[in-house]
Amino acid sequence: MDNRIYFVIFAILVGSTAGEVTLIRSSLAPVVISTIILALAGMKAALVALFFQHLKAEPKALSSIVLLALLAIVPLLTISFLQIPHTFH
């Protein structure tokens, strides 16, 4: 029973959260800050899923249930934003 991995992951999670908060006080462009922060959030989510929810050790089919869900909503979260600009002149 190797609980050490949980502590390692936990440290990464806390560290990257601290990183997110310090990032907003930095002088990078807002778009860059947003992208990095969201990428960090995605990474944290993946770590929790892979190690705390043990998806890494489970059959791939189990991950596919959640991956399919994400695949389903990607069109909604992208195409609907394309609708926002008016282009009729």
């Binding site: 029973m1 609980n3 949980y6 502590f7 936990f10 999670l13 806390v14 959260t17 601290a18 997110e20 908060v21 990032l23 907003i24 800050i33 947003s34 922060i37 969201l38 960090l40 959030a41 944290k44 989510a45 929790v48 899923a49 190690f51 705390f52 929810q53 043990h54 489970e58 059959p59 791939k60 089919a61 189990l62 249930i65 959640v66 399919l68 869900a69 994400l70 389903a72 909503i73 069109p75 909604l76 979260l77 195409i79 609907s80 934003f81 394309l82 609708q83 926002i84 600009p85 008016h86 282009t87 009729f88």
Partner: protein, 795 residues
């Protein structure tokens, strides 16, 4: 769980049964009641529209009319078609795959009772004003579009919303149940490739339901908040309507395939039996339906072609919508090709199946017209649309399902129906149907949902349609009379009156409670091995004279949810009664010793080493992913539309509190997963310590959030702030974090229960699965916050 003897009153059986066949019959009867109700509504609509009228010679008032068209649509789509299909799915999926019941029988019963109470809610809404906005519930008509106030007053509409929420809950539970059942409980050797088409289409359908319905749920809850709490999502001038349209149609388009696919599957089972040959290209039919299911999630914009979105988007959706006709093309050609060199017996089930294909073809071709954004500039909102969707939904889906009713009637009742009356029913239905809907193609110029009209050119077509409506409606009387009478006087049907080959025909008609005496085994070449006759053998948990596996908790839990939601609309006292009933019922459900026997050696690829309950939890989490994504997407959509007046980072929210909460929740995930390790190792104290710490951390999260919220309230950040540019940020913040907070609270309730059982020595070593399942849920809630924190506090 308990049992009832053969002399127990019937009501006790029907209120507490968890047997999939009984639940199937409950769904069948209830859905047919909605069919008749919504059908009668249609007759009122058609009578009103038969000729041009004025308000003085109309047969209903304007207000009644808009309620009629709205509820006719809602009831037919949500309360009739899918439940009708799932009546068959409930009864026959276990039989077709070689199982004794669904994976979670009590959950199945709960699905039915949530459906039942959702129907009560809809029925009650009629007393004070049923929904009247079209089944599509467009905002801001459903919201504050009328001079900043609600166009439809609080009351009946919100009862309808409750009905919707209860229905979606029912459907989500069913999705989890059927996915786990079909993937984990097939008979030994029943590989996926051997499954009949009906089982395949139900599997595909429930996956679609899993991923589509959470969008409707999120939309309905946001709409409820807009109406009852004063939030501003859908009445927002910048993009409120588009937000609703996207959320609704993202659900709405997969939904119309959800109501169609089980019928196609049924047709695919009926055809081989009555053509005496296998289906042509069966595996390509399955692949096509799967492809159509996937594509159905990227076509929703064709319902929004003239909403003013930019042409690039409309072109994308034209291509995707046209593309989705291709798999349907393959499917139809394959079915027609099945007739080649066959021996076609045109009995009633076959007539309906073939009729369904023919009508679906017309519906499909006319749908391609609607896929063109250019043509939609004429057709949108007119009667071509109405004709198209009735051809596919009534002609394709309902007729196919009615064929299934005739097909499986002998199996369920043990009697044959009258074939002559069945054929007459088909002929009158087919003629009436076409007379009703085909004329509508000729009045594409006539708008939908209008109370009456003054264009005399539209009248003749409307008259024809109304005539057809009465023929079609009247013909259904033959269906009910025939099936009712045949219950007593129909010839005895053996186990296989049609000479079918799927497994449901191998058991007696009607089947015993346990379905199969021994589960059949299938060899690699498709041979089915049945065990020898052994009428003395009754499987564990069942007996000859008593009903088994009864439970009253599903009904009580559904009733509690119903009462709670009624209270949420009307008065807090009723809501509290609902909570009390719910706590009592959930506790009883948890305490009950209910054993659903497992058959060894079940086929379960690709989930071979995943226990059923764990799979069920993951499937449920799949739906939660969609739910929260839509909620978050709504926030981002609104924020993008509002633009630069949105408050700057660090100007409203207390980042430190948010950061603290993130750390608290991350730590609680650590303690939760450590708890699982302790449980597996058999350490009761370790598990207890972990659970208590997790509980404390979770409570800390909520307390911190409560403090944060009260700080925000006192600084003026509410649904009615002094500075108006804070209203929408407040709306999105409180609703999204509130939904998350409710999930945290539910988790804490679960931990309290787990602690109480751990104290008694449960969940250690091999029993640790429950802790793992809780952890899966808890980590998911943590993941949601991992995204919420930066999206609200840092960006």
């Amino acid at each position: 769980m308990h049992e009832a003897s053969a002399t127990s009153p019937a009501w006790k059986r029907w209120l507490t049964t968890t047997n999939h066949k009984d639940v199937g019959i409950l769904y069948l009867v209830t859905s047919l009641i909605f069919f008749v109700t919504a059908g009668v509504m249609a007759l009122f609509i058609r009578t009103q529209l038969a000729v041009p009228r004025g308000t003085s010679n109309s047969i209903v008032t304007q207000s009644q009319y808009t309620q009629l068209v709205t509820t006719h649509g809602l009831l037919m789509i949500l309360w009739f078609l899918s439940p009708f299909a799932f009546a068959f799915a409930n009864y026959f999926i276990p039989l077709q795959i070689g199982a004794r019941d669904l994976a979670f029988p009590r959950l199945n019963s709960m699905s039915y009772w949530f459906y039942f109470f959702s129907g009560i809610a809809m029925g009650l809404s009629f007393l004070i004003g049923a929904p009247n906005t079209g089944w599509t519930l467009y905002a801001p008509l459903t919201d504050r579009g009328c001079g900043g106030t609600l166009c439809t007053a609080l009351g009946g509409f919100d009862l309808g919303a409750i009905g919707l929420v209860l229905m979606v809950t029912s459907i989500t539970m069913s999705s989890v149940n059927f996915i786990v059942t079909i993937l984990k409980m097939r008979a030994p050797g029943m590989k996926l490739k051997f499954m009949p088409l009906f089982s395949w289409t139900v599997l595909i359908t429930v996956f679609m339901m899993l991923y589509a319905f959470p969008s409707l749920l999120a939309g309905a809850l946001i709409l409820f908040a807009d109406r009852n709490l004063g939030t501003q999502y859908f009445s927002l001038p910048q993009g409120g309507f588009l937000l609703w349209a996207n959320i609704f149609w993202f659900f709405g388009h997969p939904e119309v395939y959800i109501v169609l696919f089980p019928a196609i599957g049924l047709v695919g089972d009926i055809l081989p039996t009555f053509t005496r040959r296998p289906l042509y290209g069966a595996k390509y039919i399955v692949m096509s339906i799967a492809a159509a299911a996937v594509i159905s999630f990227i076509v929703w914009g064709h319902h929004m072609f003239v909403t003013g979105v930019n042409p690039l988007v409309t072109k994308i959706f034209t291509v995707s919508t046209v593309a989705v006709s291709l798999p349907f093309d393959v499917m139809t050609i394959a079915m027609i090709e099945s007739f080649v060199k066959a021996k076609i017996k045109l009995k009633t089930p076959a007539l309906f199946a073939i009729g369904s294909i023919a009508l679906f073809i017309i519906g499909g071709i006319t749908g391609v017209f609607l896929a063109s954004v250019a043509l939609d500039h004429d057709l949108r909102g007119g009667y071509w649309v109405v004709a198209h969707f009735h051809y596919v939904m009534v002609g394709g889906s309902a007729m196919g399902l009615i064929g299934g009713l005739y097909y499986w009637y002998p199996k369920v009742t043990g009697h044959m129906f009258n074939e002559r009356i069945g054929k007459t029913h088909f002929a009158l239905s087919f003629i009436g149907f076409n007379l009703l809907y085909f004329p509508m193609f000729f009045v594409s110029d006539m708008p939908r949902r209008i109370f009456t009209y003054d264009v005399t050119a539209w009248a003749p077509w409307n008259e024809l349609a109304t005539l057809g409506a009465f023929i079609f409606g009247g013909a259904q009387l033959l269906l009910f009379l025939n099936l009712r009478r045949s219950l007593k006087t129909g010839a005895v049907a053996g186990s296989n009156p049609w000479n079918g080959h799927t497994l449901e025909w191998s058991v007696p008609s009607p089947p015993p409670a346990y379905d199969f005496e021994q589960i059949p085994r299938i060899t690699d070449d498709g041979t089915v091995r049945f065990s020898g006759p052994s009428s003395a053998h009754i499987p564990n948990g069942y007996s000859h004279t008593t009903m088994s596996h009864l439970s009253q908790w599903p009904l009580l839990i559904a009733a509690a949810a119903f009462v709670f939601l009624i209270g949420a609309v009307f008065t807090i006292i009723i809501a509290l009664v609902g909570v009390a009933l719910g706590v009592y019922a959930l506790y009883g459900y948890g305490r009950e010793r209910f054993v659903a026997e497992e058959e060894p050696g079940a086929e379960s690829w690709p989930f071979n080493n995943v226990p059923k309950l764990k799979l069920g939890v993951w499937v449920f989490l799949g739906s939660e992913v969609v739910f929260f994504s839509v909620l978050l997407g709504a926030y981002l959509f609104v924020r993008t539309n509002v633009g630069t007046t949105w408050p700057q980072v660090d100007s409203v929210f207390n980042i430190d509190r948010g950061f603290l909460n993130t750390i608290i929740l991350l730590t609680s995930s650590l303690t939760a997963v450590l708890g699982l390790s302790f449980a597996k190792a058999g350490s009761k104290n370790g598990l207890l310590a972990s659970l208590i710490t997790t509980l404390a951390l979770g409570a800390g999260f909520l307390i911190n959030k409560g403090l944060e919220w009260s700080e925000l309230f006192s600084s003026g950040f509410t649904f009615n702030p002094a500075s108006t540019n804070l209203k929408v940020p407040a709306t999105t913040y409180f609703i999204t974090t509130g939904a998350h907070g409710i999930h945290v609270f539910a988790g804490l309730v679960m931990i309290v229960y787990l602690i109480s059982k751990t104290l008694k020595g449960h969940y250690l070593k091999d029993e640790s699965a429950t802790i793992e399942h809780f952890g899966l849920y808890w980590h998911f809630v943590d993941i949601v916050w991992i995204f919420l924190f930066p999206l609200f506090y840092l960006l």
